[in-house]
């Protein structure tokens, strides 16, 4: 638990050192989750294979390997942990103009939940009814389940449910009203094989009037330099092989997609660029959605 023996103390010391060197390095890093092959043809045309999966098996094994360090505050997921509060701020800003019913509690669906960083935090909020969190990688879900047992609040029945499934295999709500108020897709899109069919699959899970919230990375030369070359190859603060630049999706591509998508309010789209500034943490950057990490939100029509 706490460093008692010298070897342990040394390990924790080394962790501290790792952390401090991380903080001094410039990076807009980025971290992962689910999915697949192919290049970035952003299309909604479904593949011809029967029940095609958007999950990439190589991504699954990559995240299995990362699982053990998921909750280490100084481990490879540190930047995701630090980013998490911003996700809540962004969701709050999206919902700011929604008519609030005080007694109404929110149902979340977190897709590609990983070790449960966002899922746990959403489940702790006082205005949360329930969180369903799914991920196709069995190893990280085991970590998520084990970590959940450390918090009695999360163990309350129905508050936080993990499912080892892909979005394709998640039963679609029988009526739209049974959907979720908030469907989240954080740092997932850049790892999926075919984003068009993938997004198509998750749309029915959003309740009318609810929000689809995601974060990903723009496919620009800056993001290639930062997330692939700097973060993975040069600095090594993000595990190698985490990112495939060609899979990245740009903000205007998403915007264009939802402008044409029936049942979705293209005018509700909100996006926000964010950047990790060493020493200061994650900061909002206006216009950053065009060249780096960004949040994206769109509302389903009532």
């Amino acid at each position: 638990m706490r460093p008692q023996d010298p070897a342990r103390a040394m390990r924790s010391f080394q962790r501290c050192m790792r952390q401090s060197t991380q903080l001094q390095r410039p990076a807009i890093p980025h971290i992962p989750r689910t999915s697949s092959t192919a290049t970035r043809a952003f299309t909604t045309t479904p593949s011809r294979r029967h029940n095609p999966s958007t999950v990439d098996p190589t991504e699954v094994s990559h995240f299995n390997a990362l699982a053990s360090s998921w909750w280490d505050p100084h481990g490879s997921s540190r930047l995701l942990h630090l980013m998490n509060p911003l996700r809540h701020d962004f969701i709050a800003s999206c919902r700011f103009n929604d008519a609030l019913v005080p007694s109404q509690k929110l149902k979340y669906l977190d897709i590609g939940c990983g070790g449960g960083i966002f899922a746990e935090s959403a489940a702790r909020l006082p205005d949360t009814h329930s969180v369903t969190a799914i991920d196709p990688t069995p190893g990280v879900l085991k970590i998520a389940e084990a970590h959940k047992r450390r918090d009695p609040l999360l163990m309350e029945p129905g508050r936080l449910t993990y499912l080892n499934t892909s979005i394709e295999d998640l039963p679609v709500p029988e009526t739209p009203e049974e959907g979720h108020d908030i469907v989240t897709l954080f740092e997932v899109l850049e790892h999926v094989n075919a984003p068009g069919p993938f997004i198509e699959k998750l749309l029915p899970h959003v309740k009318p009037g609810g929000w689809l919230i995601m974060s990903t990375i723009a496919r620009t030369w800056t993001s290639w330099l930062v997330t692939n070359v700097m973060a993975e190859d040069v600095l090594g603060i993000v595990p190698k092989g985490t990112h495939e630049w060609s899979k990245y999706v740009n903000e205007d591509e998403l915007r264009g997609y939802f402008a044409k998508e029936p049942g979705w309010d293209g005018t509700s789209v909100r996006s926000l660029g964010v950047m990790y500034v060493p020493g200061l943490g994650w900061k909002e950057v206006r216009g950053g959605e065009d060249w780096g990490n960004y949040f994206f939100a769109v509302k389903r029509l009532k």
Binding site: M1, R2, P3, Q4, P73, H81, L82, N84, P85, H88, D89, E120, S121, A122, A123, R124, L125, P126, A146, R149, R150, D151, P152, M155
Partner: protein, 494 residues
């Protein structure tokens, strides 16, 4: 006490808390009959000003109000409460100087409205001088303004507020009663703190589980150590606290002086004379009362405490007036200081307006001494642990910052917890607590360093340093903006 200590790992035994701290991770599977601990979000050990301020801050904010919190305090805190109509002829010898920043925070969390205002004394001026060279610096907001700039009528004139610690604790308790929602375990000791176990449903292996002297057990999502310099919580968290003893005692006493002070009731003045053995300070209380803090060697402190009231009074008056050579001699006398001082004062020219008005009396039973230490914990946070106040740091009292640092800690921890709650973080996780540590550690460390350096600087009796420090003091005194900077720092920043 010793047999109750149970340390499984080799560790420094400098602190000897009367609490069993088992550090071995509990990996036992609790199949035994032991009833499950009651789960709390925040368990605060220690009901001093820092701990109570933290709880009031948490309960005053709509974001954190819903947290389940408990206070554990070994003493009956109600007993030390100040009664409403307490006589203004008598003051406790435990007083502190609250900075405007601390008062602002207490106002924000709705505590200050419960203060017994008649017993609080704001002061507007500070006179500080070198006991060896008489080089002097005076602090007041008026002379500290930038050169040639007009006096700003909106500029606050108060440097700090003298207040009895009992008054601070009483207003905090009143506010907590008004807010409700804190489970108070008072007159209750913590008999052990250990990590929880992995049961069938829950993994409490990262949670501190406290067993109280009543037998009750509490599991803490966040355990706050507001339990003083020998903090058992800090020991549990295996956080080292480093520092040293100054080999000095602080002698305190409640005094009466011959009038309201040279500035009258509306312009009170605090005095501090740096003597080679330590600073001698007289701080104003309401009416003709004042409180004394005299830092000196343990031998001199013991002798001061043993003096008859008239001799003690004479020594304090002499401390502000006579030369260090005279004082050295007076400290060697077992009695008869009153006569000796009267004779020597005749031969020492003193500008009476530059020193405090004469002390006429000392309140019986208020002369006390405590050892001065400097301690700083290596970190203020661990997994599910945060330290506030003296548990985190002990400071030389010469700048009167100890209580204010604790109040600053409490306010910062409330802010950190509040951000964690709003964003769904586990408030006990090291990640959530990081901002508290980074914000407060640097701030407190700087203050500890400055006070320590001042102490050392003025311990020197001869040589070039004495000349240099006098030049420095005079230079700062002549420079309004620089003075303003120092005053802002002492006032808690603004």
């Amino acid at each position: 006490m010793a047999p109750r200590l149970l340390f499984r790992a080799p560790r420094a035994l400098s602190a000897r808390p009367a609490v069993v701290v088992r550090v071995r991770p509990g990996r036992r599977f609790a199949s035994s009959s032991a009833s499950a601990p009651e789960v709390y979000d925040v368990v605060c050990v220690g009901g001093g000003p820092a701990g109570l301020s933290l709880l009031a801050g948490l309960k005053a904010s709509p974001v954190t109000r819903g947290l389940k919190v408990a206070l554990i305090e070994g003493q009956d805190i109600q007993k030390n409460r100040l009664s409403k109509g307490a006589s203004l002829d008598s003051f406790s010898n435990r007083c502190s100087s609250l900075t405007p920043a601390s008062v602002r925070n207490l106002q924000e969390i709705g505590v200050w409205k419960h203060v017994n205002a008649a017993r609080v004394q704001p002061y507007q001026e500070m006179q500080v001088w070198d006991g060896v060279t008489d080089a002097r610096i005076s602090f007041d907001w008026d002379t500290a303004r930038p050169l040639l700039s007009p006096r700003n009528p909106a500029q606050p004139t108060t440097i700090a507020y003298m207040i009895e610690n009992a008054n601070t604790v009483t207003m905090l308790l009143s506010r907590l009663e008004e807010l409700g929602g804190v489970d108070m375990f008072t007159s209750t000791k913590v008999s052990s703190i250990e990590l929880g176990t992995d049961t069938e449903n829950m993994d409490f292996t990262s949670w501190p589980v406290l067993t109280l002297s009543t037998g009750k057990t509490l599991a803490a999502r966040l355990l706050v150590g507001a339990d003083g310099a020998n903090s058992p919580v800090r020991t549990f968290a295996d956080i080292e606290s480093r520092g040293f003893d100054y080999n000095r005692f602080g002698v305190v006493a409640s005094l009466s002086i011959e009038g309201q002070g040279w500035g009258g009731p509306e312009h009170k003045i605090a005095y501090q004379r740096f003597l080679p053995s330590g600073p001698l300070a007289l701080l104003p209380l309401p009416g003709n009362k004042s409180t004394l803090v005299w830092s000196t060697t343990p031998e001199r402190a013991a002798r001061l405490k043993a003096l008859a009231p008239e001799d003690f009074v004479a020594m304090v008056n002499a401390g502000f007036r006579l030369s260090t050579t005279d004082l050295e001699y007076l400290h060697t006398l077992e009695k008869g200081q009153a006569e000796e001082v009267a004779w020597r004062e005749k031969h020492t020219p003193v500008n009476e307006r530059a020193v405090p008005m004469r002390i006429t009396d000392v309140e019986t039973g208020t002369v006390a001494g405590f050892p001065l230490r400097m301690r700083h914990a290596d970190t203020y946070t661990g997994e599910r642990v945060a330290l506030v106040g003296d548990a985190a740091h002990t400071i030389h009292p010469l700048a009167g910052q100890g209580l204010n640092q604790g109040q600053g800690d409490a306010a910062a921890l409330v802010k950190t917890i509040s951000h964690a709650v709003r964003t769904g973080q586990d408030i006990g996780s090291t990640l959530a607590l990081e901002s508290y540590n980074s914000e407060r550690y640097a701030e407190n460390n700087a203050m500890l360093g400055v006070c320590d350096k001042l102490h050392r600087l003025y311990s020197v009796e001869s040589g070039p340093i004495v000349g240099l420090r006098s030049i420095g003091l005079r230079a700062v005194d002549a420079m309004g903006p620089l003075k303003s900077f120092f005053m802002s720092r002492a006032a808690g920043g603004s």
